[in-house]
Amino acid sequence: MNGMFVHLPLLIIMIPFAAAFIGPLNGFLFRSWIRRIVLIALSLNLICSILLALQVLSSGPFDYYLSGVAPPLGIALYADYLGACISVLISGIALVAVFYSAGIIPELGERRTFVFYVLLLLAIGAMQGIVFTADIFTLFVLFEIQAISLYGLVAMRGDGKGLLAGYKYLLIGSAGSAMILIGIGFLYISTGTLNMHLMAELLPPVSGSYTVLAGLALLIAGISTKIGLFPLHIWMPEAYAYGPSIFPVISTIALKVGVVAIIRVVYTIFGSSLAIQTIPLESILALLGAVAVIICSILAIRQVDIRKMFAYSSGANIGCIMLGLGIATIPGVEGAILHMITHTTAKAGLFLCADIILIQTGIRYVHEFKGLSKAMPYTMAAFSIAAISMVGLPLTGGFMSKITIASAAIADGITYYAAILLFWTLLSAVYFYRILNNAYFLEGTLSSTIREAPLRILIPIFIISITTILLGFFVEIPMALIRPAAGLLLGGGF
């Protein structure tokens, strides 16, 4: 293995962190440089992620020991297929989002835009760390870094609603963090190690004890607050509605990172011991997922604010991913990971479109969309493509991941979950139909001064749209990473 490639996992984590600290250092002198720094950092990050993915693909997963000290004493990073895959997703979507939000974010002003980007870099660095770490305490620390950055981002606008949303997020998130920490403590007491792989080896003999089970329950519950799994999704609508600019895009990635943490806990740590367990954890996850899919979709239909609607839709999609994970077969986990990718892409597209529509026209409610397709045809075209993917209709990524999960459910004999997933198509069609029908087929009273977004904004949006469509066709490309990832997770844990 080439010497440079060995350090890639650490490099991917450190680039955003380093940039986050370089930013303030020179930023007080050259404040306008911050966006360039972010762009350069995230571009480098994307290149490193892709290189790592290629590396993992060609020569398999590998460990990286910080300072060369092996566990149990040292801290290990583990570059596997899942981590590499989600890492590319994080860097890619974050780069497009930052590319989109060029210059000063209007609602924040110059000074706070600067802070916004610094917090964003910290969050991205933490996310990259979470997907690669093999140490459960490091996982907690990185979760905290990510969460605190995100609380700050939500409240960034500084008005009442933003602050309240940030505060709500902070309360629920802190409770979650506390549970994660206690859960880790319980597992540490039982096994004496913090390294996930060692823990997985040491757990089976003690896995029946209440300490371990309580630890598992606390971990799952804690991480569920981070990923907004129903009924712990309650922070999401307001955070999405009142968070600034591209915050929802970053948050969408953060949700997927939380799902990776759930995968690590359920499959990497407990994977081998759950087989001899009496607790049907997987079917509980699947049930929670199915409930989230239905209830969040119904809640989404009732929303009039599109950002809140999309937040509930995210809740439903997280449910779909949990459902896929809960099926606990290789196709099910494959579908779940694929859905993480397709949903993030489509949702990023939706939020970018929603943001530029808000900036250009001030529209945030469904009924205000009337006639918008004439004023902003290109934005609405991209919006429609993302919406079609969210609904899960053919020729988009969302369709492919949905049918993968549904066919996995059928193969596993739980046909009713497949039926729920397909029924969900209709539910999500209802709320997207309302927006698109308003935009395309109803005459509105929009002022004639509304202009289409500038080309600089449209390019990143189109990149997302094209990716969404390509994912519906060339699904084999992400699958090259996802297949071994699922195989690895289910075949022995790590």
């Binding site: 079609i388 209709l393 053919p394 020729l395 492919m400 049918i403 993968t404 549904a406 066919s407 059928i410 193969a411 046909t415 497949a418 039926a419 397909l422 029924f423 198509t425 209709l426 069609a429 139909y433 029908n437 395309y440 087929f441 109803l442 005459e443 066709f473 060339f474 699904v475 084999e476």
Partner: protein, 495 residues
């Protein structure tokens, strides 16, 4: 059978898609571009499909599988005889309807013409995609595109009524699509494949009960587009669309996509042997008969001409289903030929309805008394189409009904002869009175209004009416539907 691996089928698809793209980008700015591009694409496409037809009739099968979608299921374009048969129908009628559209849209000075032409082109591309699909997943992809692309055409007028019809349309078709997808995934899970294979892929997998349930899930899924009762509710409502849309899409492309899909499922997924074995054919035949009779009865009470035609379509589509359910080669041949024969008859009638709307502004049958004098040509064509659907000899409808009746006798089920004859009587009951009133109810001398109707509209009507006569007088001529239907049935049954 020679398999030719080539991207040529995709090229044919991309003609209509390319036309849609060009119109979408430049249609608002360049005058006559909508019409010009549509006509050019329609001609080009028809020529290429004809070219392919000659190749496929010669025994070749075209195949193109660029990417894998699910393990074992590629995106597959495969052109066999049945596929090219359906593609030929839709591409020829697209050409005719394009000419008609130009006349219609200009005469009524319709709004949003660019959107109309874009969606129309996408619909036709999707129809050809459906015809060329090599497996169920590819089929489903185009099937859903067709659903989505038709919606803007249904709500074209953007009135309250149109939007309500559009909602109904989407509700029915998306729900049907979801059920269809469920059936597809069930099939995929138990067989690991979704290819259309002569003789089916399901034999030997699953119990008889399971396969029966699976068949009915499929039937509900594709039955919505086929408009079998009680899943037909969207079709009469969708008649608020502009007439060319009703003519091409709701008499031919969309509904026949459903019928075509049903035949594909029966003969290429289940396979004729398994279909017989699980014993669902009598139930299917019953549902088809029920639809034939009930829809005809409902057609009687419609005063709106297009709605009456819509119920007639529902009834006629089930002829094709019945042809498949009777499990007799003759009936199947009749059903497959009816796919094409009925298309020409029904499109003639719809074209006439549009011409009447343009010429006189009337849509209700009760207002059309004595109108034959005002619009002699249109009513002559209408008479031909109507007589055809009744099944009067020397028209296209007679031939296929003859085959269907012969088939039900072959199958030893004379009850269906009674159904078919009753339906013919009912057809006569709802087509003959309007024709009679139009010709013999004129009180005073009227001047002809037909000059208001442009030749863009009259020409397609004349062409289609002549084809209806030709199909009825020389049905066995080379390249006519019966020849292909015969060959398709031979392939399906493996004779």
């Amino acid at each position: 059978m020679a398999v030719i691996y080539s991207a040529f089928p995709a090229l044919i698809l991309s003609i209509a898609l390319g036309a849609a793209l060009i119109i979408a980008l430049f249609g608002e700015r360049v005058r006559y571009l909508n019409e010009g591009v549509t006509i050019a694409a329609a001609i080009l496409k028809f020529l290429l499909v004809t070219l392919l037809y000659t190749s496929v009739v010669g025994g070749a099968v075209w195949l193109w599988t660029p990417v894998t979608l699910l393990p074992g299921v590629p995106f597959s374009l495969k052109i066999d005889l049945f596929g090219i048969y359906f593609a030929l129908l839709s591409s020829f009628l697209w050409l005719v309807t394009s000419v008609y559209s130009i006349g219609y849209m200009r005469s009524l000075n319709e709004h949003a013409q660019t959107r109309y032409y874009v969606c129309f082109a996408i619909c036709v591309a999707a129809t050809v995609g459906i015809a060329f699909s090599g497996n169920l997943l590819t089929f489903f992809i185009f099937y859903e595109i067709l659903t989505l692309a038709t919606y803007p055409l249904v709500v074209h007028s953007q009135t309250e009524e149109a939007l309500a019809a559009g909602r109904k349309y989407l509700t029915y078709l998306l729900s049907g699509g979801v059920v269809f997808l469920f059936a597809i995934l069930l099939t995929y899970t138990i067989t690991g494949s979704l290819d259309f294979v002569n003789g089916g892929i399901l034999s030997g997998s699953g119990t008889t009960e399971f396969l029966r349930i699976l068949f009915f899930i499929f039937l509900i899924g594709v039955g919505v587009k086929t408009a079998i009762m009680p899943l037909h509710g969207w079709l009469p409502s969708a008649m608020v669309a502009p007439t060319p849309v009703s003519a091409l899409l709701h008499a031919v492309a969309v509904v026949k996509a459903g019928t075509f899909g049903l035949l594909r499922v029966i003969f290429y997924i289940f396979g004729i042997d398994l279909f017989m074995e699980i014993g669902v054919a009598p139930i299917l035949a019953f549902i088809a008969s029920f639809t034939i009779i009930t829809a005809s009865l409902m057609a009687l009470s419609q005063d709106n001409l297009k709605k009456r035609l819509a119920y007639s379509t529902i009834s006629q589509l089930s002829y094709i289903v019945l042809g498949a359910a009777l499990l007799a080669p003759t009936a199947l041949e009749g059903g497959i030929a009816h796919l094409m024969h009925q298309a020409f008859m029904k499109i003639t009638l719809f074209f006439c309805a549009g011409a009447i709307l343009i010429g006189t502004g009337k849509t209700l049958l009760s207002e059309m008394h004595g109108m034959a004098e005002e619009m002699p040509l249109t009513w002559a064509a209408f008479t031909i189409g109507g007589l055809g659907l009744i099944g009067i000899p020397l028209t296209a409808g007679f031939i296929t009904k003859w085959y269907l009746i012969g088939g039900s006798l072959d199958a030893g089920q004379p009850i269906f002869v009674i159904i078919l004859l009753t339906s013919a009587l009912l057809n006569a009951a709802y087509f003959l009175p309007p024709i009679y009133h139009a010709y013999f109810f004129s009180q005073e001398k009227k001047e002809t209004l037909e000059r208001r109707v442009s030749w863009c509209i009259k020409a397609p009507i004349i062409v289609c009416a002549i084809i209806v006569i030709l199909l009825g007088t020389i049905p066995y001529a080379p390249y006519f539907p019966l020849e292909s239907a015969h060959e398709i049935v031979r392939q399906i049954l493996g004779i």
